[in-house]
């Protein structure tokens, strides 16, 4: 079907600003398939149902809108004290000097930019494949664009228990950088990996991560999205879980003019577990969109979506979350909660929670709320001598607690709490 003229033009303008990375091996062919998908779909538009609450214009634009870096002052880098294997990208370009050696027991790690020219590669069965699967029932053109044009990324194959977490660090330096990274993670049966991500990455950042979690494997993912106020990001996490596999993904977002985080998760084997959580704090010119699609395709799986947003001074939060239970996925346990705490009347939360169930023996619940801070509780704390800002921070952290609880590692959870506390101390609302 031909695209409408406006979509045709937008796509042509965007494509004119991009070049397909050179190459001749397996990667070149999956890139060209991705490009065909993109050309058939066109870029997202505000009129698309899936983009009703978030304007994709700046994500579609041929050039990245400029974004100045945020100076974090003397606050330590995330995960600073942790024993981890660090892989650093600066404005989307691999930084060998700042990165650790890529060898790690239980894991093989390669750079996408160096792994594409062979005829055969394990990532062939993953790169662009989960993304392509994730294009139905809803189109995700920006993910296809990423698969076609990603300049680098990492291919991680986990064969056993990873000796330490792999930590992707995204440094933002140039005000006009436009980074496109694509990662693939394959966990063999019974393998375990903790993957950390942090940093703003670029003025505009597009990232896709495809994760294949085989039977009984565990994938833990914690991401701290960079604090730059003006940055923009669109990210996709595609995951497929085998029987008794486990995935936990948690994202902390503080600041950023525009963030669209999509997660597309398929529970494909019996008794799998997928937990997705997010804690978001936004002040002022801030738009944050969590779009989540969880498919229960096998029986007796558990999924949780816990997304909490604290919004002030006109910040906007969006949640579109769906649980799809396919025929035969009996004994499904699906839970979804999205909540916002609005610290003033200028901020808003737009939520579209959905359930679609084709099995009869399932337990699914979803809820979405939006509310103000509890003034009575605030006064109670103040009457005990706790200053208003600190009292507010305590109540905000209490509100976010359910999302933070989804982090398996208690030290990381503690770091996240600390970061939120410091952020809240800097951004107390005026109310």
């Amino acid at each position: 079907m031909a695209l409408p003229k406006a979509k045709e033009d937008a796509l042509a303008a965007r494509l004119a600003s991009l070049t397909l990375p050179a190459g001749k091996g397996w990667l070149a062919s999956v890139r060209s398939e991705a490009l065909s998908r993109l050309t058939a779909m066109g870029l997202p538009a505000r009129r698309d149902e899936y983009w009703r609450y978030t304007d994709p214009t700046s994500l579609n634009a041929p050039a990245a809108p400029p974004a100045v870096r945020f100076e974090p002052g003397d606050e330590a880098e995330p995960f600073d004290g942790m024993d981890r294997l660090k892989i650093v990208f600066v404005d989307g370009i691999f930084d060998p000097a700042a990165s650790d050696d890529l060898s790690l027991s239980g894991v093989t790690i390669e750079r996408l930019a160096l792994a594409g020219d062979t005829d055969i590669h394990w990532a062939q069965g993953l790169y662009g494949q989960l993304e392509a699967r994730g294009q139905t029932p809803v189109a995700r053109p920006l993910a296809a664009l990423n698969s076609a044009f990603a300049t680098d990324g990492v291919l991680i194959h986990v064969t056993g228990k990873a000796a330490k977490p792999v930590s992707l660090v995204y440094v933002h330096k140039s005000d006009t950088s436009d980074a496109i990274l694509h990662h693939c993670v394959k966990l063999d049966a019974g393998a375990c990996l903790t993957l950390l991500e942090n940093g703003p990455a670029a003025a505009r950042f597009s990232k896709v991560m495809e994760v294949d979690i085989a039977d009984g494997a565990q994938f833990h993912h914690v991401r701290i999205q960079g604090r730059d106020h003006e940055r923009r990001a669109v990210t996709h996490l595609f995951a497929r879980l085998g029987a008794q596999a486990e995935m936990r993904s948690f994202t902390l977002t503080a600041n950023g003019r525009l963030t669209r985080n999509e997660a597309v998760v398929e529970l494909a084997g019996a008794e799998g577990r997928a937990h997705l959580a997010g804690a978001t704090v936004g002040d002022g010119d801030f738009h944050h969109d969590d779009t989540v699609f969880v498919t229960h395709a096998a029986p007796a799986c558990e999924s949780r979506q816990v997304f909490k947003k604290v919004l002030m001074n006109g910040a906007v939060g969006v949640f579109q979350g769906k649980i799809l239970v396919k025929p035969g996925a009996q004994k499904t346990d699906g839970y979804q909660i999205s909540q916002s705490l609005l610290l003033d009347e200028d901020s808003q939360f737009l939520a579209k929670p959905e359930l679609e169930i084709y099995a009869d023996d399932v337990k699914c619940s979803h809820g979405s709320t939006s509310g103000a801070i509890d003034e009575t509780a605030l006064f109670y704390l103040q009457s005990r001598g706790v200053p208003r800002r600190r009292a507010q921070a305590l109540l905000v952290l209490a509100f976010l607690a359910e999302a933070i609880q989804e982090i398996a590692d208690e030290d990381i959870a503690e770091e996240i709490r600390g970061r939120l506390e410091r952020w809240l101390a800097r951004h107390g609302s005026t109310g």
């Binding site: 509890d374 003034e375 009575t376 509780a377 006064f379 109670y380 704390l381 103040q382 009457s383 005990r384 001598g385 706790v386 200053p387 208003r388 600190r390 009292a391 305590l394 109540l395 952290l397 209490a398 509100f399 607690a401 359910e402």
Partner: protein
């Protein structure tokens, strides 16, 4: 200690006057009781003293050891030594009771320029004070007042008071909802805190609390004013005859 002069208060949102010229003076180390019919303004007085939003002071003053309370933020009043045991203690889901207590104690110490208590020292003190109030370790771990019974909430208020060591304590119907044994515990908790430098204002409907916490002075409040002040015998008179005689006598 506390000196309230000609305090007039109305609701901020409506034209409803609640306090109509309250005068009250409590000396250091004294225990005063306020009794009075429902809706006479007792809780409002305690809220206005501690700085709750929603009330407008149209006239008058309230000084704690010479410092004007009415111009301070609630947390400043607390740091200055004021404490209110709420008639209806507030539930705070997600905030642990222990975290709450420790944050409060350390915030006040900080405000007064004192050093914060270490986690270990704090724990020791809380455990000891909780024990005398028969508050178990499990209750300390739970979120503030969430799922507490009425009596547990009131004991938790007294625990906070014991930890914060305020100089002016206001107890708003701390006896309501308590069984006989719990009331004794609470009264013992209060009596243990009585000292020459600490004063109490006890709001209650019943003489039985005053059997345990012996007041020096008893006030009767009606329609937003203190209409009669006397000794402990005044409470006994209310207990037997109700308020009708006093209200008639004052007109």
């Amino acid at each position: 200690m506390l000196e309230i002069k000609n305090l007039h208060v109305k609701l901020e949102e409506e034209d409803k006057v609640i306090l109509r010229g309250v005068d009250l003076k409590i000396g250091a180390g004294e225990v005063h009781a306020i009794m009075g019919p429902n809706g006479s303004g007792k809780s409002t007085l305690s809220y206005v003293l501690s700085g709750r939003d929603g009330y407008e002071v149209t006239e008058g003053s309230a000084k704690l050891e010479g410092q004007e309370l009415l111009e301070m933020e609630p947390e400043e009043r607390a740091a200055a030594g004021l404490f209110l045991a709420f008639q209806y203690p507030v539930e705070i889901p997600g905030v642990g009771n222990m975290t709450f207590l420790r944050t409060a104690v350390n915030a006040q110490r900080k405000a007064r320029g004192e050093e914060e208590l270490s986690a270990g020292d704090f724990l020791k003190v809380v455990r000891e004070k909780a024990k005398t109030l028969k508050i178990d370790a499990e209750m300390l771990k739970r979120p503030v007042n969430v799922g507490f019974s009425g009596g547990e909430k009131k004991r938790n208020e007294i625990l906070q008071m014991a930890m914060l060591e305020p100089r002016m304590c206001i107890l708003d119907e701390t006896d309501s909802g308590l069984d006989v044994d719990a009331m004794k515990l609470v009264a013992e908790g209060v009596n243990a805190l009585r000292s020459a430098g600490r004063s109490f204002l006890v709001i209650t409907h019943y003489q039985r609390l005053l059997d345990h916490i012996k007041p020096d002075v008893v006030h009767i409040m009606a329609a937003g004013r203190i209409i009669k002040t006397g000794g402990p015998e005044l409470a006994l008179e209310v207990e037997t005859n109700g308020y009708a005689d006093i209200l008639n006598e004052v007109g």
